[in-house]
């Protein structure tokens, strides 16, 4: 039998240090003052400015117009992340349901058309999307932030594969039990997909949370700024003898990391189940 050796642990310890150190450095540095950071660079030691920095970041009104706080940005990011994830799940589940369970002309073709859009990143269609949103008057709205990103080939693909693995007899039993297409979807398919939904939710939430380019184009009103934009705007003040507020940038970065981490920690058992197990 294989016995673990010290070197095995060493490799794992080095690996986790390698992954964790940047986060630790960011957090530790954020507890120092901006001037301190400017003089001494990054720091691994605990500074004495923790409360002051985070309080300032969360509550101080800043930005160009001077009425956007860090808390507001966290809120916006949450709305974007959650709305994005839920919207994507609802849409892609329904699309996958149609593709898998209904026979309609060119079903396979439409699936592959959806699938090929996987190959196109958002950036490719960003101009037309912007034009459409602008014509609809949805610039600087939450709907405008979320809706254009919803159509999801990834989600549809995952759900399609999952639905295909659901035994045919379940549908037949439901048909005999008098469940129509709508009831079957709500009563049977959605509940048995819940681990899959959790997995997709995590992936999509993190993806939505980290959106940068699209929110930047869509929102000019600062009250719709997300955290990702906030970090950027802090570092943009390098004019004259101003020192950028490094500590605030780091604090915002740390804040930006928390919700995705929390979501992954909370849902991780479901996440792993959803991607590996098929309990039907």
């Amino acid at each position: 039998m294989y016995r673990t050796k010290f070197s095995d642990h060493l490799v794992l310890i080095l690996g986790s240090l390698f992954l964790c150190m940047p986060v630790v450095v960011a957090f530790m540095t954020s507890t120092h003052t901006a001037a301190d950071i400017h003089m001494n660079g990054l720091s691994l030691a605990w500074g004495d400015n923790f409360i002051a920095t985070y309080e300032k970041v969360l509550t101080q009104k800043g930005g160009f117009t001077g009425d956007i706080t860090g808390a507001r940005m966290v809120m916006n990011s949450l709305i974007l992340g959650v709305g994005f994830a839920i919207g994507k799940i609802v849409l892609s589940m329904m699309a996958a349901y149609a593709i898998v369970y209904f026979r309609f002309p060119m079903a396979t073709l439409s699936f592959w058309v959806i699938f090929t859009t996987l190959l196109l990143p958002l950036e490719v269609r960003i101009m037309p999307s912007y034009q459409v949103m602008s014509d609809l008057g949805l610039l600087n709205t939450y709907s405008g932030l979320i809706v254009p990103l919803l159509a999801s080939a990834t989600g549809t693909f995952y759900f399609r594969q999952f639905f295909k693995s659901v035994p045919e007899e379940l549908l037949e039993a439901a048909r005999i039990d008098g469940a129509g297409p709508f009831k079957f979807f709500i009563d049977i398919l959605v509940p048995i997909s819940r681990t899959m939904i959790a997995a997709i939710f995590i992936i999509m939430f993190v993806y939505g949370w980290n959106q940068y380019l699209w929110p930047m184009m869509m929102t000019t009103d600062e009250s719709f700024f997300t955290l990702m934009r906030g970090i950027k705007s802090i570092l943009q003040v390098w004019v004259g003898s101003n020192i950028p507020d490094y500590n605030e940038a780091f604090a915002l970065a740390v804040l930006a990391m928390l919700p995705p981490v929390a979501i992954v920690v909370i849902f991780q058992s479901w996440f792993i189940k959803g991607l590996t197990e098929s309990d039907k």
């Binding site: 007899e169 037949e172 039993a173 005999i176 008098g178 469940a179 048995i192 039907k280």
Partner: protein, 365 residues
């Protein structure tokens, strides 16, 4: 409760593959019909057409007095038990049983009463609040049957419900299905590839082959007078020995051996003869067919000796204590021979000449 009338039913799949051809079957109210055949014979397709899960390409299916070709499965007043149980995994046993009734807007009190009754009948009352995954295979099968029973349908459809169970459980569940069906008196169609299951359960057997009915009849009828070599080899265990033989007047030649038929010969020339393993006797006289044993299967109560008569494989069933020696000779009562056309495999009836001979023989005696 209702009769089911299947007339000229056929199934052609998209792409022109024909699965079922011209099935005519009158199922009486309360009858237990078993469709049996090898895999791919169309038995499941036929059942699924009755259930409404497959479109009926040709012919009509009537449940009661109503043609149901265009009726949704839910409105056909049938309940189905699937091979893999098809229980809803996220619902408790109780919810599984209730689901069909809820969808039909049955009053709550009535649902509760029916679920309680079905659970009591199937002895699953203590599992009502469990999820299916916490049940064993046999218990899941009971729940699946419960789901059918609570609906009080006109007909039960069983699609190989016992194939996923182990041998011992299969036997006891078989008994239970039979008992339950007797008690409820519900018309049932049961699909299986297991001839033993078919024999023990059926009021009437329907043997299917290649999408066509080979024979319909009570289990014993089918066993004693198989209509073709296919049925003969399919029903009964061990399978009936089918050997090539030649009828020469009143004598039957199997390889080098000759059997005197006492007037049972239905025709003359080349035929296929069926001999049941248990009808063959070991004899000491030189009259019998020489039998070379190749190997023996011990079943405890029986021994099956596999060997050759001439150059054709034959199996005989002997009692547990019977001795097996080299140079055994076999004989058989001519009335227990089955004759089949050598070309078509259809049964050639030996009965008519036999009774004629007996009638003639009587006054003489």
């Amino acid at each position: 409760m209702a009769a089911i009338d299947i007339s000229s039913v056929g199934k052609i799949y998209n792409g022109g593959v024909r699965a079922v051809t011209d099935i005519n079957l009158d199922i009486k109210d309360g009858e237990f019909i078993v469709l049996v055949g090898p895999s791919g014979c169309g038995k499941s397709t036929l059942l699924r057409m009755v259930a409404g899960l497959e479109v009926i390409s040709e012919g009509t299916v009537k449940i009661g007095d109503r043609a149901v070709n265009e009726v949704e499965p839910a409105d056909r007043d049938i309940a189905m038990v699937f091979q893999n149980y098809a229980l809803y995994p996220h619902m408790t046993v109780r919810q599984n049983l209730e689901y069909g009734l809820k969808n039909r807007k049955t009053p709550k009190a009535e649902i509760d009463a029916r679920v309680a009754e079905a659970a009591r009948m199937l002895e699953i009352t203590q599992y009502l609040d469990r999820k299916p995954r916490a049940l064993s295979g046999g218990q899941r099968q009971r729940v699946a049957m419960g789901r059918a029973i609570v609906r009080k349908p006109a007909a039960f459809l069983f699609d190989e419900p016992l194939s996923n169970l182990d041998a011992k459980l299969r036997v006891s569940m078989r008994g239970e299905i039979k008992r339950l069906q007797r008690r409820l008196g519900t018309t049932s169609i049961y699909v299986t590839h297991d001839q033993l299951e078919a024999m023990t359960l059926a009021d009437r057997l329907v043997v299917l082959n290649g999408g066509k009915i080979e024979q319909v009849g009570s289990p014993l009828d089918v066993y004693h007078t198989p209509a073709s070599t296919f049925v003969a080899s399919f029903i009964g265990s061990p399978a009936m020995n089918l050997v090539k033989a030649e009828l020469q007047g009143d004598r039957l030649a199997i390889g080098p051996s000759q059997i005197s038929l006492n007037g049972y010969a239905p025709t003359s020339g080349a035929v296929t003869v069926g001999l049941r393993a248990e009808d063959l006797r070991v004899v000491s006289s030189a009259e019998g067919m020489p039998f070379t044993v190749e190997y023996v299967e011990e079943l405890g109560s029986q021994r099956l000796a596999h060997g050759l008569v001439g150059d054709q494989a034959v199996t005989i069933a002997l009692s547990g204590e019977a001795e097996i020696t080299d140079g055994m000779r076999l004989s058989i009562d001519p009335s227990k021979l089955h004759f089949f056309d050598a070309e078509t495999g259809k049964r050639l009836d030996a009965r008519a000449p036999a009774t004629a001979v007996a009638a003639v023989a009587e006054p003489v005696a």
